[in-house]
């Protein structure tokens, strides 16, 4: 399996709802083609270095996933058909990754996200009583334990 990264420039005038629909569709393509979605990095609206479709701004999104060449082909075909996507580029990040290592990475990213959220929550409630912070420290542990059942599912895919 290989790890890829796709940068997608979508229409800057797109409504938030339409944009989430667009990326749900893209994620569906990845899962349909037995790929592993890792993360989505939203860069927001940026100025383009040159005009694309008579537009000078674009909404950048960076998508990281694991999959095969067939997945990339199918994904790029879908992106090409979509009118809201102005331009896209796929980059190969690494050639030797296994489904397990990708699942592990996806899990790590999720853990880091929940941990940072918990840390942010702790900072917010930092001035409250000790009892409250004690409860929140217990909460991330429960959250990290949750993604574990996901692993056997991916190994079945192998």
């Amino acid at each position: 399996m290989r790890k890829y990264e796709t940068v997608i420039i979508s229409d800057p005038d797109l409504q938030d709802q339409a944009r989430t629909e667009l990326f749900d569709k893209i994620r569906n393509v990845i899962t349909r083609e037995d790929g592993i979605f890792l993360y989505l990095d939203d860069w927001g609206n940026k100025k383009l270095a040159y005009e694309i479709n008579k537009k000078l701004r674009g909404h950048y999104t960076c998508l990281t996933y694991g999959g095969t060449g067939g997945l990339v082909k199918e994904l790029e075909r879908n992106l090409g058909l979509n009118d809201d996507v102005m331009k896209f580029m796929t980059i190969l990040l690494s050639t030797d990754v296994t489904a397990q290592s990708l699942a592990q990475e996806a899990k790590d990213i999720e853990d880091a996200k929940t941990a940072s959220e918990a840390a942010a929550a702790n900072v917010d409630d930092g001035e409250e009583t000790e009892k409250d912070t004690g409860q929140e420290q217990a909460a991330p542990e429960a959250e990290t334990a949750e993604p574990e059942p996901a692993e056997p599912v991916t190994s079945v895919q192998n």
Binding site: V7, A49, Y50, G58, K87, M89, I91
Partner: protein, 87 residues
């Protein structure tokens, strides 16, 4: 006679060149990334052309990575294919 002097680098108008060093080799934290157009902008001209390594001093290994990153960056409109000519 005169020629000899020039070759030795002596004389009045001797051309002195400082040894150029690869910036990426010196600073390990400096990464070549197509997603970071600000870092790549130092290695292109105002016209948008890639500056040769005989001028920037970048080593061959890093120049290869750099030129690839600049080309990728152009593809997703973070850097121009053709920039505005200098005024």
């Amino acid at each position: 006679m005169y020629k000899d002097q020039a070759q030795r680098g002596g004389g009045k108008n001797r051309f002195y060149q400082r040894r150029k060093i690869c910036r990426f080799c010196v600073d390990n934290g400096m990464e070549i990334d197509y997603k970071n157009p600000k870092g790549l902008k130092q290695f292109i001209t105002e016209r948008g052309k890639i500056i040769p390594r005989r001028i920037t001093g970048t080593c061959a290994k890093h120049q290869r990575k750099l030129s690839l990153a600049i080309k990728q960056s152009r593809q997703i409109a973070l850097l121009p294919f053709v920039g505005r000519p200098p005024q």
